[in-house]
């Protein structure tokens, strides 16, 4: 580094000499440099070669504005990954702020006379749909909606195929240099879901408000992806290249199997549910140590974010992967948990009049693409609760 800096100084003196003349002090500096054998050698060889004037013209041929824009995209793209973590912190903060917001909201509402019943909405609440954004490695953002077929070209030369089913990374036959393999990110918004096929043939289903980050092609000894939110994986078998899902604090390693990971930042736990095959799961404990557990089909690992501990248990798998099959399946689930899922899918905001209501439990099996009113009406009929809907805000009260 030091040496490089000295050579830069040398060049600066030389440029000055070539362009005009040097002052005494400058000559002295140059002479000092010339006493060093290696520098002198370089100096005389550059002098001998002279300045290539055809080459000088080329300095003006670069499109600086365009290049600066590209650099900017990349910078913002990198910053984005940091911002996501920031957003998580905000979401935690939001959980804490909720009781306060609720209190204020309640105060406000008590002054207003409430019409009874469901169906007072002026804006129709719609179920989620195929919707996501793709972040390419150069910072380009592509809106992914279901309609048109398309080909997207990555900076490393690979081609991503987009059709009505989702994205497909399998079509690449190009030999990409390992160092230049691009990383892509897909983000689904609230009320969005998306499907894609990774380069190894692994199929990925993304639930609403989720994110997955993966290389355009897997190189090296592992296939590694990062995610948050809820994602279902059907991993293509490759015994020599384990597939690893990195979810903050939890790492799931598989060879070829199907499983669901639910890791929403506003949920207390990260749940990994195994459908078939086998997975091993590593989780960071409170002590900072890593603990490993294995899962067999039908079992679920539940990592508590607060106590940082893992428990495994037998579960009804269908219930946890229902979303992927277009259903909501609730089994004696608390109204609080149910509404959080509905919030992500229907893009609604839910407020409870009392905590007691949050703990009411319901069982239901409903179509995810159906109207939310159907669900709410059913619940309203069988219990003493009332859903009050204003635009996309739902207030839950006792009848």
């Amino acid at each position: 580094m030091k040496n490089t800096q000295e050579h830069i100084k040398l060049a600066q003196l030389l440029a000055k000499q070539l362009a005009g003349e040097l002052s005494d002090a400058e000559i002295e500096q140059l002479t000092l440099f010339q006493k060093e054998e290696d520098k002198n050698e370089i100096l005389s060889s550059v002098r001998e070669k002279g300045i290539d004037f055809d080459r000088l013209e080329r300095y003006q041929t670069f499109n600086l504005e365009e290049a600066r824009k590209k650099v900017d995209w990349k910078i913002q793209f990198r910053l984005k990954s940091k911002k996501i973590n920031f957003a998580k912190i905000l979401r935690y903060a939001a959980i804490l702020a909720l009781p306060l917001a609720l209190a204020v909201y309640m105060l406000y509402l008590t002054d207003v006379t409430q019409p009874d019943g469901v169906g007072q909405a002026t804006i129709e609440i719609k179920p989620g749909e195929t919707k996501a954004q793709l972040y390419l490695s150069d910072g380009r953002i592509v809106d992914l909606e279901k309609q048109q077929k398309d080909l997207i070209r990555e900076t490393d030369g690979s081609v991503i195929e987009k059709d009505s089913l989702g994205l497909n990374y399998q079509t690449n036959t190009l030999d990409i240099e390992p160092e230049r393999i691009a990383e892509n990110v897909i983000v689904t918004p609230v009320g969005g879901e998306y499907q894609l096929t990774l380069s190894d043939g692994t199929k990925v289903w993304m639930n609403a408000k989720s994110e997955i980050r993966y290389p355009v092609r897997f190189i090296g000894n592992t296939r590694k992806v990062k995610m948050s939110g809820e994602v279902y994986f059907k991993v293509a078998k490759d015994a020599r290249k384990p597939f690893i899902v990195d979810v903050n604090d939890v790492e799931v390693k598989v060879l070829g199997t199907q499983f669901n990971i639910m890791a929403y930042p506003d949920e207390r736990s990260i749940q990994t549910t195994l459908v078939e095959g086998a997975v091993s799961l590593k989780a960071k404990e409170l002590s900072g140590k890593t603990t490993s557990v294995g899962l067999s089909p039908g079992r679920q690992a539940d990592y508590d974010r607060f106590s940082k501990s893992v428990e495994t248990r037998e579960v009804d798998v269908d219930r946890f992967i229902a979303w992927k099959n277009g259903k909501f399946v609730f089994e004696k689930e608390s109204l609080n948990d149910i509404m959080r899922k509905l919030e992500r899918w229907y893009d609604i905001k839910v407020f409870f009049q009392s905590n007691e209501l949050k703990n009411m439990r319901f069982s239901a099996r409903i179509d995810r693409y159906g109207n939310i009113n159907d669900i709410l009406e059913k619940m309203q009929q069988t219990t003493n609760i009332n859903f009050d809907i204003k635009n996309n805000i739902i207030q839950i009260k006792k009848k």
Binding site: M1, N3, T4, Q5, H7, I8, K9, L10, A11, Q12, L13, L14, A15, K16, L18, A19, G20, E21, A25, E26, Q29, D38, I42, L43, S45, V46, K49, G50, I51, D52, F53, R55, L56, R58, Y59, Q60, T61, F62, L64, A67, R68, K69, K70, V71, D72, W73, K74, I75, Q76, R78, L79, G139, I141, T155, D175, E177, P178, E179, R180
Partner: protein
Amino acid sequence: MNQTPDKIIIIDNNESLSYNSLFNEMYAGLCLFSERFLMVSSEGEDLVQEVFVKLWAKFDDFDSLNAIKAYLYQATRNACLNSIRHEKVKRKYEAEQVHQVESETYFLKQVVEEETSRIIANSIDELPPQCKKILQLSMQGLKNQEIAEDLGISVNSVKTQKSIAYKTLRSKLQNIFDIVMYIMWM
């Protein structure tokens, strides 16, 4: 997407340096510099852009212009070498040629060549057109008489223009030199 706001740091003699101005000053030079290492020159711009992306995160850590320049040259060279190493594996490039390009001496020599011609290119570009032309011819080794004939002007006029060119150039190059002096006598 909105443009990221510029970053400004204080360097050397309490002077301020903005990321954007550094980008404008160094980008073309680094792209041309990358060609000295690459077998396929077209990818140079990509690599240099990547270098600037990395610089963005580190920019605040620097306190001297030449340290940043040294970093830029080195990072560009490393990116190029990484790139040709893969090509070497793939296309079985002549090992000898790659070996030479990888050497430290080769690197330093390229830095001197590039930095010299970059400074001159940047300075010349700001001269009035006639001055610029005369200076270019003079640097190519043409005598005043030959330049005068070439451009169809008098020898005296060549002399006057040349002295204006040198004067302007020197004052431009002086700024660079001040930094050099500062670092050297520190």
